[in-house]
């Protein structure tokens, strides 16, 4: 049986989520914008799910805007904030952000925006002094910082930086795609202005996400037309996926404590096993991290090669973000933390879900032990 340790890439749909979606795939539901009963039935489902996702994020239902996923939410937040500005000023982003944020912010360069990366320390956390100096360098529109990193799992303490960002009259965008369902999430306590979410990272369907937006934050739409989502995001709502997101959110809220504890048990067991393999390095090991994520390098292996060797044994892991796989470049996350290129090339990421078992961890460790011994023998 295949072992799936790539849950930061995507997760298996929870059967209960599928069950909730099924009527909306098969049943008498129309276009939620239609005024007849088929449309209204679909509309009711969309709004019920909005309330469920709001609870997950610690936000109000009216603050939830549906998107096609985390990438669209990040793009919408960054480019929407740029387009609604009176004139181009400045944006800051964490050097270890997901490509969706990174490339969105960088795309603004040609449009007169100054964009700068926020330097991370070796432990993956913000360098507070350098960040404070960056903040003070003139007018600022938006700062994008992820709550937890998709590769290393490093959790940033954002409440501290939010006040400083607001003092500069700027907005804070928090990419919380990897956070939801793993650690507590509270839009209000984070003091964020914008927050992006994705369903398929928490056992919901692919193709649906949300941007949480405080009412005062003004964004120009990314998808114009149709008037859906308060005129902010055109397009017929993906009703079944929205319903699935809602239920996945509810299950994540209900099960979060238990799931997190299960994942942490797996992670600790796995890390203990890695410690026995000489020369193995776990990145940001001493930093607060997601309970499910381990990024490490096994001596003597390039990440991609190790990934292939594990794949042949039916074990699915990742050499970084799936969004960057096959690029032949080392992880920008590790480079952003000051890790040397040759070390970064060796990195692979294991990410658990609560569906994984200790027996699976032991099997993967056994395979890694053999691969490690082979490399040592060379």
């Amino acid at each position: 049986m295949a072992i799936y340790f790539d849950n930061n890439s995507t997760t298996r749909l929870d059967p209960r989520v599928f069950e909730a979606m099924q009527p909306y795939l098969q049943g008498p539901y129309g276009n939620p914008s239609s005024l007849h009963r088929y449309g209204r039935a679909a509309r009711d489902a969309v709004e019920a799910a909005r309330a469920q996702v709001a609870v997950l994020a610690g936000a109000q239902a009216a603050e939830v805007i549906w998107t096609s996923g985390g990438t669209e939410a990040d793009n919408f937040a960054v480019k929407g904030a740029a387009a609604s500005a009176a004139k181009p000023t400045r944006m800051l982003y964490g050097a270890t952000e997901h490509a969706a944020v990174l490339e969105s912010v960088q795309s603004l360069r040609g449009q007169g925006w100054a964009v700068d990366a926020i330097v991370m320390r070796q432990d993956g956390l913000i360098d507070a002094e350098g960040f404070a100096a960056q903040l003070a360098q003139g007018p600022l529109r938006l700062v994008a910082l992820m709550r937890a990193n998709n590769e290393t799992g490093v959790i940033q303490d954002l409440a501290r930086v939010a006040d400083a960002i607001h003092a500069q009259d700027a907005w804070l965008l928090v990419d919380a795609v990897q956070t939801a369902g793993k650690i507590p999430l509270d839009f209000v306590a984070l003091n964020a202005d914008l927050l992006s979410l994705s369903a398929h990272k928490l056992h919901g369907p692919r193709g649906i996400g949300a941007l949480i937006k405080r009412a005062e934050v003004e964004l120009t739409p990314l998808h114009h037309g149709g008037g859906q989502e308060q005129g902010l995001r055109g397009g017929t709502e993906n009703v079944a996926a929205i319903v699935g997101f809602g239920v996945a959110a509810e299950l994540a809220v209900q099960g979060r404590g238990t799931r997190a504890a299960q994942m942490l048990t797996l992670r600790r067991r796995f890390e203990a096993g890695l410690h026995a393999l000489s020369g193995t390095r776990i990145f940001a090991e001493a930093t607060p991290r997601l309970p499910n994520t381990v990024q490490f390098a096994l001596p003597g292996y390039v990440g991609e090669a190790l990934l292939m060797a594990l794949d042949l044994k039916g074990i699915a892991v990742s050499s970084g973000s799936a969004c960057h796989s096959g690029s032949g470049e080392p992880s920008h996350v590790l480079l952003g933390m000051g890790v040397a290129r040759d070390v970064a090339f060796g990195a692979i990421r294991v990410s658990f879900s609560a569906e994984n078992t200790e027996a699976e961890v032991d099997r993967v460790l056994a395979v890694l032990t053999v691969l490690h011994a082979e490399a040592m023998a060379v």
Binding site: T10, Q26, Y38, A41, E72, N75, G225, G227
Partner: protein
């Protein structure tokens, strides 16, 4: 193989317990059960040892198997419209496709300080008009052509509107409210000659009439799954390879879809779109004459009433098979809709229904506000048959007659 008509929406009851007849297939269609079956292995993880629900961007085995599903679907979508698979870019739906085509083409082709011009029509879908209006705020010049009374823009009108700055023409193949078929095949070579990019919104045309992009030099073409018995939340944009149409991406991050559209692919939805397009390719030549006959049957029954006007081309062959739009003189629009609780039709585009304004498309054709408001769009599909059409026609005829009897506006 099941017959197309086996796709019947299990009907909802109205307050009196009567089944509500669904004639709003242009707003959205039910998912074909055969499509759902194709989607399930990529959606549901429970029983799939191949883990085909994995992220198709992942390099491991499960990711690879997910990608195989994505690529098969790409070929299926391409086949229906005579394109090459690599010319198909996945999106979250036609709204995104239209936004990407229009804003992406203009952004790519725009040189600093040089004026740039788009030609479109007043009868386009909201997402095309709103994209153009947004570009106007960015300094782009836009000409909104007024269609003729039949809803069609004459190719000569487009050619006359061309300026030295014209970079893009965007027109819909089949109008979503009145079903008018635009002369895009005639126009395309003439725009190609002039080096002007041509974007076509083919959401209501795909699977309804012949589209062969090998012969028709359209550069960009938008399609949607949920108008063709596929799932909501997925669409595609055809981007021609030769001569190459170039776009500035509107969604960054990860470089999926040849860098033109990033974001984790929703494999099950993409597979569903592929299956839906493959079914349409097999069945449309049988299904469309059936719908045309049903549409004319509906019109024959409604035209028995005095002063009903058919919106769109009077020549049925210039109309898409599935859409019939009728204005009823002498009745109030809101009262008419309220008098038809057992009929799911629309007064225009679902995407415009939030505004409660009379259809801007019908007004663009020269219908006055009152008449535009007293209009119904009937759109037919796989669940429609002679019985449902006769029953729907009966309800409309009764309601219009009753409302006219009560109306001070009506003088027979």
């Amino acid at each position: 193989m099941n017959s197309p008509a086996s796709v019947v929406l299990s009907p909802l009851p109205d307050d009196a317990g009567n089944a509500i007849i669904y004639l709003d297939y242009a707003a959205t269609t039910p998912l074909d059960p055969r499509v759902l079956e194709a989607m399930l292995p990529y959606l549901q993880g429970a029983d799939d040892p191949a883990l085909r629900w994995a992220n198709p961007a992942s390099t491991h085995g499960p990711g690879l198997r997910a990608r195989e599903g994505v690529e098969r679907a790409r070929a299926q979508v391409a086949a229906l419209i005579g394109a090459e698979p690599r010319e198909i870019i996945w999106t979250s739906g036609a709204t995104e496709s239209n936004n990407l085509a229009i804003k992406g083409a203009i952004e790519f082709n725009r040189a600093p300080g040089r004026p740039i011009h788009i030609i479109t029509s007043r009868a386009e879908h909201k997402c095309v008009l709103d994209s153009c209006r947004y570009l106007e705020t960015q300094g782009v010049a836009v000409t909104y052509l007024k269609p003729g009374a039949d809803g069609r823009v004459m190719p000569q009108q487009v050619l006359d509107a061309i300026t030295p700055d014209t970079a893009l023409v965007s027109l819909m193949w089949v109008n979503n409210e009145i079903g008018a078929v635009q002369a895009v095949t005639e126009l395309a070579p003439r725009l190609r000659e002039r080096g002007i990019q041509f974007h076509v919104d083919a959401v209501q045309a795909a699977g309804k009439l012949a589209i062969n992009l090998q012969d028709t030099p359209i550069d960009l073409l938008s399609v949607s799954a949920h108008k063709l018995y596929g799932p909501k939340g997925v669409g595609a944009l055809f981007v021609r390879r030769w001569p190459r149409a170039r776009l500035a991406p509107q969604m960054h991050g990860g470089g999926h879809e040849q860098g033109m559209r990033s974001g984790t692919l929703a494999t099950h939805q993409i597979v569903g779109m592929g299956a839906a397009f493959a079914l349409a390719a097999r069945e449309w030549t049988i299904e469309m004459p059936r719908l045309t006959a049903l549409r004319e049957r509906l019109w024959d029954r409604l035209r028995g009433l005095p002063e009903v006007l058919r919106n769109g081309p009077q020549d049925p062959s210039a109309c898409a098979p599935h859409i019939l739009n009728i204005s009823f003189a002498g009745v109030d629009g809101e009262s008419l809709r309220a008098a038809l609780p057992s009929l799911a039709v629309s007064s225009g585009s679902a995407c415009s229904s939030a505004t409660a304004e009379p259809s801007y498309v019908l007004r663009a054709l020269g219908r006055g506000d009152a008449l535009a408001d007293a209009s119904l769009r009937f759109s037919l599909g796989r669940g429609s048959d002679a019985d449902t059409i006769d029953c729907a026609a009966g309800q409309v005829v009764d309601s219009v007659q009753r409302l006219r009897e009560l109306s001070p506006l009506w003088t027979p």
